[in-house]
Amino acid sequence: MIAGAPIVVDGVSKRYETPSGPVAAVDGVSLTVRPGEFISLLGPSGCGKSTVLGMVGGLVRPDVGRILIDGDPISGPNPKKVALVFQDPGLFPWRTALDNVGFGLELSGVTATRRREIALGLLEPMGLKGFEAKYPRELSGGMRQRVAIARALALDTPILLMDEPFGALDEQTRLLMGEWLVEIRRRTARTIVFVTHSLYEAIALSDRIAVMTARPGRIKDVLDVPLPYPRALDAPEAVDLHAKLWAQLREESLRAMDGQR
């Protein structure tokens, strides 16, 4: 059983060079994620939430500030501690579901037999039993994203970073995937950082929600979600929280829209 590891984001900033000059994507974000916590980064599109996640994953280097995982500063991808899931499942089309799940293990030199064992063990409870020999093109969108999540879980890391993992799915599938993620989390106590622009998704899944401002992204507020699972989104507390979040997010979304004009 993995306990989950703490993440300390300490004053990180990031600028990108664009043809029309430098753009500040993230500006002085600080955030402490407790071990085993499920925290959502909620913000308008383009607010730099994916950049923050990329920095925690070691894929993006901050210009300023640092990030500590388990107390150690990160210098690049760290597949022993951090696994990532993206909006695009990014499955390898030439690999079966089983071999996709085994990809990370293959890189770290795990034997084929053991890879198979682990992958089957992950795919079965995800409702993908019987699909292990299928190629991504033969799977539905929801199945593909589940394979991608299984591929991340296969690394058995204390931290799971998810960048709008259900963003490309239809609403029903998204709700089911959310329920199912809560279930995974109940079984393995990982630290999960979840980027989303969906208020409902954030309320349904998280322990805490960090609301980000329009670009350049800063942390506007961090709210607790003191509700038991499974959550009814029409419960009065959830409705209150939704109103409160929307009031904050509305302001930022308007600013983001003005910024785009």
Binding site: P77, A83, F86, G90, F92, L107, Y135
Partner: protein, 248 residues
């Protein structure tokens, strides 16, 4: 099944038309299909023409050499320009411009550099086969989805592992297409080279028969070459289909 039947019918109709047309015209200039098998027999037996087997072997060897060099050069240049972005920005337009020049204009200078022997034919085969391979590698590199690379990097893959386990398989179908076109063009290069001026090889024999007005023998040789190229290309297309099925 139906498609095969139709193909056979079309082929049969073409042969009948060809035969009918040839019989109505001057038999010295126009050769019907019925005259091809005996002509082929004569090509193999006659002493008027050089012994065919030696020339066929020489041509095959030239094609093999030309294709091997075209693939090696094409892969090298393609990956160099595709993976080193600055080099790519500098040289890719140049490559495209060179490709746009009708390659035959280079052949006289190749003959001057490499002489009348096999070397100039191989060089021409390399020149023709090189471009499709290079361009397919460049196109293939551009087609690798960025997400797949990010996924692999997030799992700790270094650049060599990304290349081997992500880029190569993701590029495979595009690259195989280019390799196949490259082979076809290397064959064209060698044969055209032999036709334009050589002392040996299949193209030379074809030219020789033509020069002696042995029209039936000439036509038989042309059909033989066409059949061989079709067979080669058929094998290539089977291989390409296999790779495409695998790489999705």
């Amino acid at each position: 099944m139906k498609i095969w039947l139709w193909r056979a019918l079309v082929l049969l109709a073409a042969l009948v038309l060809w035969e009918a047309a040839a019989r109505m015209l001057n038999p010295i200039l126009y050769v019907g299909p019925s005259r091809l098998p005996p002509a082929l027999g004569r090509v193999l037996a006659t002493r008027d023409l050089p012994p065919l087997a030696d020339h066929v072997w020489l041509t095959l060897a030239e094609i093999a050499a030309a294709y091997a060099l075209a693939v090696a050069g094409g892969l090298w240049v393609g990956f160099l320009l595709g993976l080193r972005k600055t080099l790519g920005r500098i040289y890719e337009p140049l490559l495209a411009a060179l490709y746009a020049v009708p390659s035959v204009v280079w052949y006289p200078s190749l003959m001057l550099f490499f002489g009348l022997g096999p070397a100039s034919k191989i060089a021409f085969g390399v020149l023709l086969g090189f471009f499709p391979v290079t361009l397919a590698v460049l196109a293939g590199i551009r087609q690798v989805p960025a997400t797949l690379i990010t996924v692999a990097e997030s799992m700790g893959a270094g650049s060599w592992t990304v290349f081997r386990k992500v880029m190569l398989p993701a590029m495979a179908s595009t690259m195989v297409g280019g390799l196949r076109t490259g082979l076809a063009l290397s064959v064209v290069g060698v044969l055209v080279g032999e036709l334009l001026g050589a002392r040996a090889g299949l193209g030379y024999v074809i030219n020789y028969a033509y020069g002696l007005m042995m029209t039936a023998e000439y036509a038989a040789l042309v059909v033989l070459v066409a059949a061989a190229v079709l067979l080669l290309d058929g094998a290539g297309s089977l291989f390409e289909a296999r790779v495409k099925r695998w790489a999705g």
